[in-house]
């Protein structure tokens, strides 16, 4: 039975899709059978971040409407056998997502995978609602910035009231905070809120701190989840988050921006 995890934030542009790709790939690297689903109907992007945009034939909406089988719509990652993506439709309207349809697809995926990761669209409307509705756990992606923290707080309220678990009175959806685009240098200068500040405000357990890093843009340029770049700070921070998601106790380290080694620095100077 798979665990269903929603990657959500309320605010757009904070790193939900990057996080979905990185955590999904990270779990698969650790041997877990994982599928990532794009819930952003009409604004499909997870396929690009995962680097399989040219292999999309059928999508989530086709499966919901019975035009394709789930196995036809799932795309296997070229690098990792146990990582799949279910892309969404780029042309359809978000109303094509229905409770019944989403539930049926998730039920089917639950039996075949260890982790089902739902990439929520920004906002709190239909797509976002359905992405979180069936979740067992949630990763709330937040930037250390006022509008992002405010939106995350709003989303936490929805997770505790507008999900299946909440409506059925079951154990609450377990929410984790993932702080992204964190810049220790700006924190030291007092220009950016500290991890502790955001934690104090949102009061949910911390899954990880992803440093602001050029590696993230590079990874999206290449269509390769950032966790594959095991040398980068962002890649390592995501790998740590994956371990914590799997229940391991790992010390939290706020990795700064990339540091050049002495040798590289010398080379850079003479270049």
């Amino acid at each position: 039975m798979a665990k269903i995890i929603v990657i959500t934030s309320g605010k757009g542009g904070v790193g939900k899709t990057t996080t979905t790709a990185a955590l999904g790939a990270g779990l698969a690297m650790r041997g877990k059978k994982t599928v990532v689903i794009d819930f952003d109907v009409g604004l499909r992007n997870l396929d690009m971040i995962m680097g399989c945009e040219r292999r999309v034939v059928f999508d989530f909406i086709n499966v919901i409407q019975g035009d394709a089988r789930l196995s036809q719509a799932l795309i296997k990652n070229r690098r990792l056998e146990n990582l799949s993506i279910l892309p969404t439709s780029q042309t359809r309207d978000k109303d094509a997502l229905t409770h019944q349809g989403v539930e049926k697809v998730l039920d089917e995926l639950r039996n075949d995978f260890d982790y089902v990761i739902c990439d929520s669209p920004a906002g709190i409307e239909r797509g976002a609602h359905l992405a979180m509705y069936y979740a067992d756990e949630a990763v709330v992606v937040t930037n250390p910035e006022v509008s992002s923290v405010r939106d995350s707080d709003r989303v936490l309220g929805l997770l505790s009231s507008k999900t299946r678990r909440a409506e059925k009175g079951e154990e609450a959806v377990k929410a984790h905070l993932l702080l992204t685009r964190y810049d220790p240098a700006r924190v030291a200068k007092g220009d950016m809120m500290k991890v502790e500040d955001v934690l104090e405000i949102l009061s949910i357990p911390l899954l990880g701190i992803i440093p602001e890093s050029p590696t993230v843009l590079k990874a999206s340029n290449l269509g390769s989840p950032v966790v594959f770049d095991e040398q980068s700070n962002a890649g390592r921070a995501y790998a740590d988050a994956v371990s914590r998601l799997m229940g391991e106790q790992i010390e939290m380290r706020a990795l700064g921006p990339e540091r050049r080694g002495l040798f590289q620095r010398l080379r850079w100077r003479t270049a």
């Binding site: 910035e145 006022v146 923290v149 405010r150 707080d153 709003r154 309220g157 009231s161 924190v187 200068k189 007092g190 220009d191 950016m192 809120m193 500290k194 500040d197 104090e200 405000i201």
Partner: protein, 103 residues
């Protein structure tokens, strides 16, 4: 106190501290509003119906506010009654509020 401490400018709050304070104040209010929408409108309707059995009140003259504090929360119900009828008839009592107003 460092030797040359007096040379430094007095410390002002960093922008990050300001951000945190603004968020804490704002979210305290927004979280308040989060509780209530479920039952407050219904409660408002029921109270209005009960009051109407005895006095005439307009639908928009009943206000309900929920204030959540650290120790206690107060439910404030404010019912505005119409002005008493002209002199000659027995005046109706004028209630401003069924509960003392929280200050």
């Amino acid at each position: 106190m460092t030797l040359f401490g007096f040379l430094r400018r007095p410390k002002t709050a960093s922008s990050a501290e300001t951000a945190k304070e603004r968020l804490q104040i704002l979210l305290a209010h927004e979280r308040q509003d989060r509780f209530g929408p479920e039952y407050l409108p219904l409660l408002q309707k029921d109270i209005l119906a009960a009051v109407k059995k005895y006095v005439q009140v307009a639908n928009d003259k009943v206000q309900i506010k929920l204030q959540r504090g650290a120790e206690v929360s107060t439910l404030e119900i404010d019912i505005e009654l119409a002005a008493p009828p002209p002199v000659g008839l027995a005046p109706l009592p004028r209630h401003r509020s069924l509960l003392p107003r929280a200050t």
